[in-house]
Symmetry: C2
């Protein structure tokens, strides 16, 4: 069954307290290779049948309206994944 | 600056109440193409300098220990993204 993956990230200018907490915890656990972390969301939408252009358009619109808050978040990726 | 993207999803057998809420809201908003939704997390780890095999190994270990809860979540993707 094909799925559509939607990735949503906080806008660069928006503070990301979860990311800040993770970047603080990493060196305490011995992970010293990373200078910053941002945490966003990943959605997998299951599609019955074929992913047509209309289905993909619905996914893009749902991503911008329901799955993300366009004031503080960017939809960075809408992508079909075949299993 | 290269980034490492880590994707974490709830395990298939784990109930995902956020996904359930979204799948209920979609048809009310006119999106009728989707039969299921799962919500997970996406992390972007910023790396200063080059992404070596050692850095990638750190990212994989951090993904399994700090960024996900292996009891209820799967790390589905650890991937380098060049800007």
């Amino acid at each position: 069954m094909p799925r559509i993956v939607v990735d949503v990230m906080p806008k660069p200018e928006i503070l990301d307290p979860q990311g800040k907490a993770i970047v603080g915890a990493l060196p305490r656990l011995g992970f010293d290779a990373f200078s910053g972390v941002r945490q966003g969301k990943r959605f997998e939408l299951a599609v019955d049948g074929e992913v047509t252009e209309a289905v993909l358009a619905q996914a893009r619109e749902a991503a911008e309206t329901l799955l993300s808050n366009p004031v503080i978040e960017d939809v960075v990726n809408v992508q079909v994944v075949e299993d």
